[in-house]
């Protein structure tokens, strides 16, 4: 039982990170109908930028809150710029191209980002400096660190903020209008190019925060880390119903818990035949099952074409 609660707690923390990355996929998909393959790699860049800033500042002996703020800000800035550039250069010219074309540029951008990162940071794993001594808390039999709590709380805060923003702000309304029908929104005076660019910036910035969380949580960064993270976040978005912001949150948390429980119990359940080295398989399994049985996701609308 204790293990169960513990795995749920771990899963929720991991899931909140997935959810943040999934938001980037789902927002772009909602508006453009495009899977932004490069989103995971944008998150990776955010993570590595944050890591570098933290390394430099920690070496200079600056206070921890300042380090975190600076690392986060730097990551957000760099990712926002990259997101904007990628949209402008690689996706916008292809807005009316056949469906396969933007997907292939997205793969190209993803490779470009990965290997640019490999050039800048090298291919080895980079360690995050230890900023503080982990502080263990206990609640209802589950142990967790203050960091886990902060990650979860911050992620919830961002997600709630985003949902409110989309519902109530002027830009949020423009985003929803563009999502429903870009052409008509344009006729109504919405500058859809701006809205789309803004969506990319917003998604990338949130991805940057997720990247910072990943390096804080796992303590290491790597030029290829965006691949798996992106794939899982995408799975989370599909699970929740792609294009649906609330769905991405739900899907992310759910996927985190599923993965955590599955890799925690698979060894016992199969008598040690399969171990936690199969952990990455679960996300794909979930993806395939969702696509077979409920292609529109948990909260998605039913529509033949979207699905």
């Amino acid at each position: 039982m204790e293990i169960f609660v513990q795995q749920i707690v771990n899963g929720l923390v991991l899931g909140s990170i997935y959810a943040l990355v999934a938001l980037g996929y789902t927002m772009v998909y909602g508006i453009l109908g495009l899977i932004n393959f490069a989103h995971g790699d944008i998150t990776m860049i955010g993570a590595l930028v944050a890591l570098t800033v933290a390394q430099v500042m920690a070496a200079a002996g600056l206070p921890v809150p300042l380090i975190l703020a600076a690392a986060g800000a730097a990551a957000i800035l760099v990712c926002a710029v990259i997101g904007l550039t990628v949209e402008r250069v690689a996706y916008r010219p292809l807005r009316r191209a056949p469906r396969l074309a933007p997907l292939i540029t997205a793969i190209g951008v993803s490779i470009l980002l990965q290997y640019s990162a490999a050039l800048v940071w090298g291919k080895q794993y980079i360690a995050m400096p230890e900023l503080w001594v982990p502080h263990k808390l206990t609640l209802a039999g589950a142990q967790f660190t203050a960091l886990q709590l902060v990650i979860f709380a911050l992620a919830c805060l961002i997600m709630a903020g985003l949902i409110l923003f989309i519902r109530y702000s002027r830009m949020g309304r423009a985003m929803r209008a563009t999502e429903q029908n870009a052409e008509v929104a344009g006729l109504m005076g919405v500058n859809t190019h701006h809205v789309i660019a803004f969506t990319f910036v917003l998604g990338s910035a949130i991805g940057a925060v997720a990247g910072l969380m990943v390096v804080l949580y796992y303590g290491i960064g790597h030029y290829f880390m965006g691949f798996m993270l992106g794939l899982k976040a995408f799975t989370a978005a599909v699970l929740g119903g792609i294009g649906n912001v609330g769905g991405a949150v739900l899907g992310g948390l759910l996927l985190g818990v599923i993965e955590s429980l599955a890799s925690g119990y698979i060894g016992d359940l199969t008598g040690g035949v399969f171990g936690s080295n199969y952990r990455d398989v679960f996300a794909f399994l979930v993806l395939v099952l969702v696509l077979i049985f409920r292609p529109s996701g948990l909260l998605g609308r039913h529509s033949g074409d979207r699905a």
Partner: protein, 353 residues
């Protein structure tokens, strides 16, 4: 039909002569290493022609294509190596590999058929990764794949004691293993090209193009889109499986390392850069993308010589160029270097000019 002008005999003879002499010319001019590259290039031509059926003909974006290659390769490796002590003949194993890969193709295709192309891309990508994870870990509970170490000492192709890996001297010419495999691969490539071309002009091929261009309209015209898409998957996978078996016998060694996502993307690049849907374009793409990166290897020593140190790792540079090429191709030449002829079929005999 336009686009099917009969090629004059003398050109065909010339091409045949060039292809026959090629391995000796390459070995003489560039050395053994390049002969090996030519062999590998032929394998990749097969692979990309297989993927071309899925992506180019039927318009289904498959990002896990290398998995079928892996299935074929492991099928051959397991049943023709000391690993299990089984040494079956390739006459049995190549068709078996093709069949198993084809079944995998259908299994993978079935759940994704109702979905839009981009979902398909992700699912196939996931499938490719799953296969690799299993290959990597199935050395427990019993040792099926030998895990990350892979399987070694795989039998070469041989017919009643005549092994392709050995050097044979015929009429004063010495045919090494690399030469022998070249001719075998060449036969397979020619077969693949032939099948691709015949498919292209067949009823199935035309139905694939219709699905690719507008699935709804195709379905309305009475095309059974589900079965045809599955056929495309199965066909493409079959080619991959055969190529995999050949690869295993040629290399003598397989490991999960050879079947990563990046290899799927490489094959996709070949198809896209060459010209999706055009068999000759795809052949060109595959040849270019296997030989050019090899040439990039010289960039490392060049940097050493002129800059004093290796600033950019050549393999990283290669990947950067791939990424850039994918983006630029889609932006400026979305149909590839050698796109398929636009008006393949005289749509209306009377109309149009």
């Amino acid at each position: 039909m336009t686009g099917r002008v009969p090629v004059p005999w003398r050109w065909l003879l010339l091409a045949a002569a060039v292809l026959l002499v090629l391995p000796f010319a390459v070995e003489m001019l560039f050395g053994r290493a390049w002969l090996r590259i030519v062999d590998v290039a032929l394998l990749f031509v097969m692979l990309s022609l297989g993927l071309n059926i899925v992506v180019g003909f039927a318009g289904l974006l498959d990002l896990g294509y290398i998995a079928f290659f892996a299935v074929g390769a492991y099928c051959y490796a397991l049943l023709a190596s000391p690993h299990f002590g089984i040494h079956a003949s390739f006459l049995l194993l190549l068709p078996a590999g093709a069949l198993i890969a084809g079944v995998f193709g259908v299994l993978l295709g079935a759940p994704t058929l109702r979905l839009r192309g981009d979902y398909l891309a992700i699912v196939t990508l996931g499938f490719g990764e799953i296969i690799r994870i299993f290959l990597n870990n199935l050395n427990r509970p019993f040792n099926l794949t030998n895990g990350p170490q892979g399987i070694t000492l795989i039998d070469p192709l041989s017919v009643s004691g005549f092994s392709l890996a050995k050097t044979h001297t015929v009429a004063g010419l010495s045919f090494s293993g690399l030469h022998n495999y070249y001719y075998v691969f060449l036969v397979f490539v020619l077969l693949t090209v032939l099948i691709s071309r015949r498919l292209e002009y067949s009823r199935i091929g035309r139905a694939w193009f219709a699905i690719r261009d507008d699935e709804l309209a195709a379905a309305a015209m009475g095309i059974n889109t589900r079965n045809l898409k599955l056929t495309a998957f199965a066909m493409g996978a079959t080619f991959g499986g055969v190529a995999g078996g050949l690869f295993a016998s040629f290399q003598g060694f397989v490991s999960p390392e050879s079947f990563q996502l990046i290899d799927s993307i490489m094959v996709l690049c070949m198809v896209v850069l060459g010209g999706m849907g055009n068999v000759w374009g795809v052949v060109l793409g595959a040849v270019l993308l296997t030989t050019l990166p090899e040439a990039l290897r010289y960039i490392g020593p060049l940097q050493q010589r002129f800059l004093g140190e290796v600033l950019i790792d050549p393999s990283d540079l290669r990947m950067l160029l791939f990424g850039a090429a994918l983006v630029l191709m889609m932006l400026f030449r979305p149909n590839g270097l050698w796109p398929p002829a636009q008006r393949r079929y005289p749509a209306t005999e009377a109309g149009h000019g």
